[in-house]
């Protein structure tokens, strides 16, 4: 499953870049995240509970590895999530370009979903991934607003 698009953050690129890699921010903004810890410079481990409608939130163990980090322009993410309902694995690349006072994020992810969620949930995969992405980006943007209010650029 390919997920790609752009999103504009109302803030400077350096701040956005820092935000995107901040484990506390990730814990707050990733939909369903219950904990995210940075175990070393480029590796994050955490737990997410994703529940939609009648689906009881199942816990996923998530590992995110960052590679090819170019501050404050781009990075790649290797995402690996595993839980009782199956797994999700994939690669995402993120590129930030400055656009005046704003930052445009270009993202492209190639995610694979396996196990029970793929086998019986295909009808909703597209909608769910769009929804989670939207929720995550909006939460991130809100967090950015909050930060910018606190620490003016």
């Amino acid at each position: 499953m390919i997920v790609e698009g752009t999103y504009t953050f109302p803030g400077p690129r350096e701040v956005v870049f820092r935000l995107l890699l901040d484990p506390d921010v990730l814990a707050k903004t990733m939909p369903g995240a219950t904990s995210i810890a940075r175990v070393n410079e480029d590796r994050y481990e955490g737990k997410m509970g994703v529940g939609i409608g009648p689906i009881t939130a199942a816990e996923f163990d998530v590992v995110i590895t960052m590679t090819e980090k170019v501050v404050p322009e781009s990075y790649q993410m290797q995402i690996d999530g595993r839980g009782r309902f199956g797994f999700t694995r994939g690669k995402a690349s993120v590129r930030l370009t400055a656009d005046g006072e704003s930052t445009v994020m270009h993202y492209e992810a190639d995610m694979m979903v396996g196990g029970k969620i793929a086998a019986v949930g295909q009808r909703l995969l597209d909608s769910v991934s769009r929804m989670m992405l939207k929720q995550g980006l909006e939460a991130m943007s809100a967090e950015l607003d909050r930060r910018l209010g606190k620490e003016p650029a």
């Binding site: 009648p54 009881t56 009782r84 909703l124």
Partner: protein, 296 residues
């Protein structure tokens, strides 16, 4: 495909059900069970407890409201709606829709309230309730609140129901004069989740122009979609073939359909346009008939 263990309660009153739900945050109300039970059997849903609403007689039934509208108890079975003379007479759009809701076996057990609270983006009833401007009655231990359908559906399988709150009834406003409606869906097989479905109600002015149009679609987004651009393209105009076609085209601006293995977004867009056009044609025809014979 055996569910994990759960507790089971069968309250006899709404109040008792609300108490049970309040006491157990991990509990789920059980209506017809046509979505929840399969999810449990797949072990995708694992509620700690089920509060079975099937023993609450007061939640079922269809009655006429003083203003000419209808009130459906949330636990009214699909089959009861499908065969109700009241629904046929006063909510023809709902009557036309019911045979498309899954299969007879499911309609014998499934409930209107269950379907609405479940808020499946491919379900017929949320879109129909949105088209009919239904009001949903939500009951909690502290009282009752009434929400228009437009405010009830908040996203993918998401509703405005608060924890501890139950959908107890649905109220349909009285049908206006010179109003026609139509329901069309395309599914792979009869009874499947629709690839795209359209519900339309239109009202004609005395001079034959479109006075109001309310077109809703389902299976094209996170929930039922009110096609506002379609309405704008119709209102105040004489609904001739060209106007209807233009309105059907306008639906593209109202939707952002997902892809799945049965239908890509492009195909859903095509279906949305074609079915919107066909539904409008039929609805206007019926509105004209209603206009010339209000008893119809």
């Amino acid at each position: 495909m055996k569910p994990p263990a759960f507790e089971y309660f069968r309250p006899a009153s709404v109040l008792e059900a609300l108490d049970l739900l309040a006491a157990r945050p991990g509990a789920k109300p059980l209506a017809g069970g046509q979505s929840l039970i399969p999810a449990m059997n797949f072990r995708l849903a694992a509620p700690e407890a089920l509060v079975d609403l099937n023993g609450i007689a007061a939640l079922s039934g269809i009655t006429r409201l003083p203003d000419g509208g209808l009130r459906l108890g949330a636990m009214t079975r699909h089959h009861a709606v499908e065969t109700s003379p009241l629904v046929a007479a006063h909510a023809p759009l709902l009557a036309e829709t019911m045979p498309f809701v899954a299969h007879p076996q499911i309609r014998n057990r499934g409930t209107v309230g269950g379907s609405l609270a479940h808020a499946d983006p491919a379900a017929e009833l949320p879109a129909v309730m949105l088209a009919l401007e239904a009001v949903l009655v939500l009951t909690s231990r502290t009282g009752e609140r009434r929400l228009p359908a437009a405010g009830f559906f908040t996203g993918l399988f998401a509703t405005a129901l608060a924890p501890g709150e139950l959908l107890t009834a649905i109220e349909l406003p009285a049908r206006a004069a010179a109003t026609g409606s139509a329901f069309i869906e395309q599914a792979r097989r009869h009874g499947d989740y629709a690839l795209v479905g359209v519900a339309a109600t239109v009202t004609l002015a005395g001079s034959g122009e479109c006075d109001a149009a309310r077109v809703t679609l389902f299976s094209v987004g996170e929930g039922p979609v009110l096609a506002e651009r379609v309405a704008v393209a119709l209102e105040g105009l004489r609904p001739d073939a060209g106007v209807v076609e233009a309105a059907a085209h306008a639906v593209q601006g109202d939707i952002d359909p997902p892809s799945d293995i049965h239908a890509g977004a492009a195909y859903r867009r095509q279906l949305a346009r074609v079915l919107t056009g066909r539904a409008l044609e039929r609805a206007f025809q019926r509105a004209r008939a209603h206009q010339s014979n209000p008893e119809q």
